[in-house]
Symmetry: D2
Subunit: 251 residues, 4 copies
């Protein structure tokens, strides 16, 4: 049985094409609001019904938004929303979904057969543990270590998906059969957050020298966060700039 | 000093124009999503990355949305957002803001002088207490009772706003001077909710014969809720229909 | 009709005793957990089922809790709860209830007649506005200004409560009659928060030189917060100390 | 290398003892409040400061609590808290943690090596898929199917844990090595919820003929929920009875 040409997609058994991926896929599906939404919501406190007029004067946004960020007035940032479609391995979803000020709908291994796509670290992903258990530091792996990791993950994925399909073919329910699948299998979901919750996510899930409170996120969730941040920065440039200039602490 | 012609706006003292209002003002400022957002989010559970395709087939929305509503699958309704601008008296805001899955920014009596607009019940507002304390029932008031209520509220508003201005004119801080103002003074705010939270609001804040769990909202918050509902029904007709047909219980 | 001896409680009309108060009443009603709850929850990440054993070694708590606070690991602080009974004027409740990660049950002006207790600022309460509208500063009032404030608030309270009782005596429903009452009337409620939400409350509602992000709370809500903080510090001394030593930012 | 006598714990390789489990472990670690907490919080609406007195009259609790439940007055149930220690497989944790009105701290596969304990369905667990994809029904498996499932899960667990240990022994970081582990590996966490959130959990995660809105939970999360419910029923018998008698809908 010949493998696919791309060694990231190879045929397993008669028909199953196993896919190895190293990416986190993030797409913006829908959104509401921008920097002017923040200005409008903030101005209502001092201007009442006149707040809507301030939205015209967009040039004032950076100054006001900087003030809100510095003083941790967070509520004006909540009148916005971003819906993302995300594909990530289960061990990443487990971290993402710890963020409770957000909405999620994910594909269900009870209701559908999961696709055979599995995560393997890219070559640049640090692999080797150092530091203490409270402060794990990671350093680059050797070529041998990378090959070892990829081999184990590939072999594990193939064996697990094989077992999964055997169980399904014997009439075992999807929700039982999937118990054999590893946490690096991909899953997809819609994620909706407002800008305040999103900044909290970025604050905790990116590592950044400018951060007042350094975070040590897992590389894979950081790859999701970085894509969230690019979209966020494009949609709300003044808010993103103020976030970056004020220690990357969510207001 | 002659009063304004409209007896709902009359001059008090040298310059202050007191306004008596009976309305709740609701305007849609921004929104995200519609019925197809619900379909897309729901379909991801069974279709994974194929979920986006279902959005094309809008005719399927009512059936799927009805299924979600009946079975109380609430999360797909969260990938939506509505931002409203609302003007209402403080005693109404106090009820609105008990809804915690929502975002608020309100004008601040610490940061600005409140406008002299006060709520008085319209003629059709029930006024007379009957029933028990756990189940208060209200019945229409007589012409005399209505006149009495309006007189007391008008007199109270004038006296309170007079005192407010006297205190301000003596250099007393806004946040102290406002302590004399009554709870029927108007305030304005931006309110953002997703469709699931909005349905919970409607479920509790409207009185409806179709409701599986009857609510007895205060008339003034119901006037806000009815306007929310009209906007919601227009933006998400299939979701609203399913909500109405399934006992008006938020999923 | 002779007044009561205490000029803070005086008889109004035939029987009504109006009470003027300057305090915020806070009582701890119930609570769950202490510093060891934090240790236990944090230790599960590195010790799994062995986490419970760490609770024995209480002397380790301050170090671990300091680490969590500095690094903004907030979730271990959530396995605790405090239920307070609070009496405060309505304009203070309006600020308290903006805190959404909390549970509230308040007396209802729809279901009961409110008691005639009204807030007046104590002599030491700053009264005079200075600074800009975005940064209001308050400075002490003169004796005259204090007398003026008290006179207006007393007169307003008496007139409003008089009107309230007249309306009630004419059969007007409580929920309508109360519209005439000022925002400095007292109300009572039960408030439940976990330690993380409580620290967020303290961070925003106390003014403190040690704070990394200075807050400018209204004096009356700060009086509530200070009492919350004393109870919190007594129940969770290591957590409180770490909060105080790390810029009073909620983790 | 001889296996352990208990075929549920067997030695793998030189020293590793793999454990196969079919249980969900739930222990109550801490709690706050009971039925009287609900009464007290509810009574404040009609009794203000007198609410605390009603707690004495415990015999009134069932009637009031039934009224609150029927009318979906949910907030009085929030002044309570339950902290559970739970051991469950990762695919169950993924469902548990979708409940956002709750607090979690879980052992971390980044900070510790996971123990080799894996879930296998007990003999009575339904295994065979029937029904449609939207309404999956499960029916009992044959002896052969059960043996097949256990064989695959056992083989998968052994192979995956072997790979995990090989990766660790080559210096690969825990957070990378664990990617090979299957979703039926056990993890442990502390979970804190108030009674209202807990009833919502029970409503969605138990299957019950008395339920107004039938749920079809996965069997393994139901095993967690049933244990939560027993503890809840013991601590808050009037609340639990009212929940059961009113369609098992969270108020």
């Amino acid at each position: 049985m010949p493998a696919c040409r791309d060694d990231r997609r190879f045929t397993q058994g008669a028909t199953t094409v196993i896919e190895l991926r190293s990416d986190m896929l993030v797409e913006l599906v829908d959104s509401m609001g921008d920097d002017t939404s923040v200005v409008r919501a903030a101005k209502v406190s001092t201007a009442g019904q006149g707040a809507a007029h301030y939205v015209q004067h967009e040039q004032a946004a950076p100054k006001l938004i900087g003030y809100l960020m510095r003083n941790r007035h967070g509520s004006p940032f909540e009148h916005t929303a971003f819906t993302f479609y995300v594909e990530a391995p289960i061990f990443v979803w487990r971290e993402i979904m710890r963020h409770r000020i957000a909405s999620y709908n994910e594909e269900s291994a009870r209701y559908r057969k999961l696709d055979p796509a599995f995560y393997v670290p890219a070559r640049e992903r640090d692999l080797v543990q150092s530091g203490s258990s409270a402060h794990p530091l990671l350093t680059p792996g050797s070529d041998y270590q990378h090959a070892h990791v990829e081999t184990e993950l590939r072999r594990g994925a193939v064996a697990a998906y094989d077992a999964y399909e055997r169980l399904l073919s014997h009439g075992i329910a999807r929700e039982v059969a999937r118990m054999v699948l590893p946490v690096n299998i991909y899953s997809s979901a819609y994620v909706t957050m407002n800008a305040r919750a999103l900044m909290n996510f970025l604050s905790l899930r990116t590592s950044n020298l400018d951060a007042a409170y350094p975070s040590h996120p897992m590389r894979e969730i950081e790859a999701v966060a970085r894509q969230f941040e690019m979209i966020f920065a494009e949609r709300m440039p003044a808010t993103h700039a103020a976030f970056a200039e004020n220690g990357r602490v969510a207001p």
